[in-house]
């Protein structure tokens, strides 16, 4: 299952709810959620821990727009919109944690 997160995890609980609830599978960070994929944020430890259970992906056009493309945590997979499509196609189902 693919879990799509679009909100900044430092101001909104969606990412945390996803980590608490979802079994495993893949996570894709888009829009304002991409900040969670960056080194040095207060979320870094939580994200690294989550990588044990989930494959974590980040939408690079969104991270480039926010000026942080050079700070992706090691182990987080960068994807473009084509990769986003592949993730949706490659998982049996998906959920947007709006």
């Amino acid at each position: 299952m693919l879990h799509i997160i679009n909100k900044s995890a430092l101001s909104n609980g969606s990412f945390e709810s996803c980590l608490r609830t979802a079994e495993s599978g893949e996570i894709l960070l888009i829009e304002d959620a991409v900040y969670a994929a960056t080194k040095g944020s207060a979320l870094e430890a939580k994200v690294r821990e989550a990588m044990g259970r989930f494959k974590i992906n980040v939408l690079m056009p969104d991270l480039e727009a926010r000026g942080l493309a050079d700070r992706v945590i090691e182990g987080v997979s960068p994807v473009d919109y084509g990769g986003f499509v592949d993730l949706v196609a490659g998982n049996k189902n998906c959920q947007s944690w709006l």
């Binding site: 609980g13 979802a22 998906c94 944690w97 709006l98």
Partner: protein, 121 residues
């Protein structure tokens, strides 16, 4: 439509502050009318949607919370509430408008994984 799909409606937002709770009910009813397999899950602030005693007169909006009690009449019976979300809000099953199945986070996650279509409200 011959094949039945599993539709899950994920309700994570408080009622009244936004329109999502009301709209979720609309889609749920229509999806049931299409003879699909319908589950409603309530987590995070979504559990507040089921709170008894909502009185919207003071904010001049429709009190749609009575609709949850009517779901049963449309054979919509799979209502799941996450225990952790209820606990964090000081709510118990007695506070809720309808009978629900209480699940742990992990059980709810497993249920999500079994769905064909997940719609978020």
């Amino acid at each position: 439509m011959s094949d039945v799909k599993k539709f899950m409606f994920v309700n994570r937002k408080a009622p009244h502050g936004t329109i999502y709770a009301l709209e979720s009910l609309e889609v749920v009813l229509i999806t049931a009318a299409f003879d699909q397999d319908v589950s409603l899950v309530f987590l995070d602030d979504g559990v507040y949607q089921l709170k008894k005693g909502q009185q919207t007169k003071g904010i001049e909006t429709k009190n749609f919370s009575t609709t949850y009690r009517a779901l049963d009449g449309y054979d919509i019976e799979k209502l799941y509430v996450e225990k952790e979300s209820m606990d964090a809000r000081g709510l118990t099953e007695d506070d809720l408008l309808v009978d629900v199945t209480v699940l742990t986070s992990k059980e709810m996650g497993a249920l999500m994984g079994q769905q064909d279509v997940v719609l978020s409200f």
